[in-house]
Amino acid sequence: MDHQPQLETMAVNPARVGNSKAIRMKSFYKKLAKNKAAMVGAFIVIVFSLLAIFAPLLAPYDPTEMQLSKKLETPSSEHWLGTDDKGRDILSRLLYGSRISLTVGILSTLLGALTGIILGVVAGYYGRWVDSLIMRICDVLLAFPGILLALAIVSVLGASTTNVIIAVAFYAIPTFARIVRGSTLTVKKLEYIDAIKAMGARDTRIIIKHILPNVLSPIIVQSTLYIASAIITASALSFLGMGTKPPTPEWGTMLAQGRSYVAQAPHITLFPGLVILLVVVGFNLFGDGLRDALDPKTKK
């Protein structure tokens, strides 16, 4: 090697050492920002998160205060989204409800996904009896209908919002474990895993730095989808009296309670339904965009 390139590399490098990570982060944000659908999704998610955080400041009425004289009122300037069958302000109830629904949806998905990912990657990577054991347990869990399993867990642990989170998270485990195991099986056979093994890497490094990043895309999409279904499952549990107790506002409970008045006062079910739909769509759009932005192969 002659002198010229040596000097050049010396000149180029120090400036780039610290920058390369920043450059990569920047290109990630740029890609995400260019994706319009993802931005809409992010906007919805952020708006709902803010609404949930500032609910006490924003809500015009006490969400549990009943004004029986004003029951089943249609939207008006006084009650923007109308009142329900007990005369409670629907807008206030929705705002407060977003706190419970979002917390349950996000926390249970995080908890379930994390456990599922660990189990799935361990099963896929180590194979043999570890794999058989974990997957058979997942099969057993998957054999129960989701709501039945959640019901059983909540009835054992007792009805409370925390236990609903645990129950919903529990049901997420086998789904995530299966997805991650499948992707792990594919990825671990690729030559770059052999290459890093031949380099002398430990199993933990291989799993964390080489397998996990490459099985991430389906997990992200599944997580955003699962947040949506977690919100619905939590609502269903509340409806059955096994979750959040009735006076506390919760989207699913509201939806269920308005059921008997669909013909006379459709707005009672319409608004909670719309809100759930909007949040679900928001998370899905954002998740899709996130996956694309995380993949270095998509165009900048």
Partner: protein
């Protein structure tokens, strides 16, 4: 080239179990590599050739313990790799590296080139952190990749460039032996030549020893000092390049060589066309494994397994064939 053995493979067997029945019992084995012994001297390039499924890649992987061998010993600088614990082997891996066939699958798509090389250095702790970046640029330049491409992802490179990155990764830990597992087979011919020449240059520069696994005799002829010919998990012939190409002794080697396309139209060579298929490695034929397809087979071939024996000639040559043994006697 010194005559000191860097790598010595002794009676290596690689059997893969076939599971069957209700309880997943092992019902049989695929005998991918069956009793293979050879040595690789320091600074030498030894090639293993043979058709698909003859066990050449399996041998390479077993040497690196990417798949643990079924039985046998692998001595590297006198130390038996098979007896090493997992953590001892991890340290040893610094000296034994591999270049893979498919440059599209052998680089993690989520790491930039510099991350790939840096991680290798980090694992084996070969270079202090502050000097790594400089070393990476140097290495990449050695294999012909510019400093401005250091932060790119693998998909931004062509196949040949990626293979160079794979080579740089293998070199980054300063190894003694590199197993090139079909290292140029996935590249087109003009790039093949470039990469082969690069490998040769690097060998001189870093005093490397290569175990070159290939099915392409043209490539093998270009790069090797000695050549091992394998058929169905066994070595049928080992010879230095000159002896093998000038005077192949084993009928299988002869058939292989006759299949090399020639650019000389005046030279009319007789092609040896083998009949039938390669028998299954699950249940290989008794006696000489090649006897079912050998044009020169006789009674003894089906009964007795031929041993690898030296043949007197101008160079180094060993053949496992009853025919040469009998003609010698």
């Amino acid at each position: 080239m010194s005559d000191q053995a860097l790598l010595e493979v002794k009676e290596l067997k690689q059997y893969f179990p076939i599971k069957g029945g209700v309880f997943g019992r092992t019902v049989n084995h695929v005998k991918a590599v069956d009793d293979v012994s050879f040595t690789v001297n320091e600074g030498e390039t030894v090639s293993i050739v043979g058709e698909s499924g003859c066990g050449k890649s399996t041998t390479g992987r077993a040497i690196l313990r990417l798949d643990n061998p079924y039985s046998g010993n692998i001595y590297f600088q006198g130390e038996d790799l098979v007896s090493l614990s997992k953590s001892q082997m991890r340290k040893k891996r610094k000296d034994l590296q591999i270049i893979f066939q498919d440059p599209y699958a052998s680089l993690n798509p989520r790491q930039t080139v510099s991350q790939i090389l840096e991680e290798a250095m980090e694992i084996q702790k070969v270079i202090p952190k502050k000097d790594r970046r400089k070393k990476i640029t140097e290495l990449l330049e050695t294999v012909g990749i510019g400093a401005h491409q250091i932060d790119r992802y693998p998909h931004e490179f062509s196949g040949g460039q990626r293979q160079r990155i794979g080579i740089a990764r293998a070199l980054s830990v300063d190894p003694k032996l590199i197993v090139c597992d079909e290292a140029v087979s996935a590249l087109d011919v003009s790039i093949q030549a470039q990469v082969l020449n690069l490998l040769k240059d690097l060998q001189r520069k870093f005093k490397l020893t290569y175990l070159f696994i290939s099915h392409d005799l043209g490539v093998v002829r270009h790069i090797s000092d000695r050549i091992i010919v394998m058929y169905l998990g066994k070595i049928v012939e080992v010879a230095d390049k000159k002896s093998l190409f000038n005077q192949p002794r084993h009928p299988y080697t002869q058939a292989l060589l006759s299949a090399i396309p020639s650019t000389n139209i005046t030279e009319r060579r007789e092609r040896i066309i083998l009949t039938g298929d390669v028998p299954s490695p699950i249940d290989p034929p008794a006696g000489c494994r090649f006897h079912t397809r050998c044009p020169l087979a006789f009674d003894r071939c089906a009964k007795e397994e031929p041993k690898l024996m030296s043949v007197s000639g101008s160079g180094y040559q060993q053949v496992a064939c009853h025919l040469t043994e009998e003609s010698k006697a």
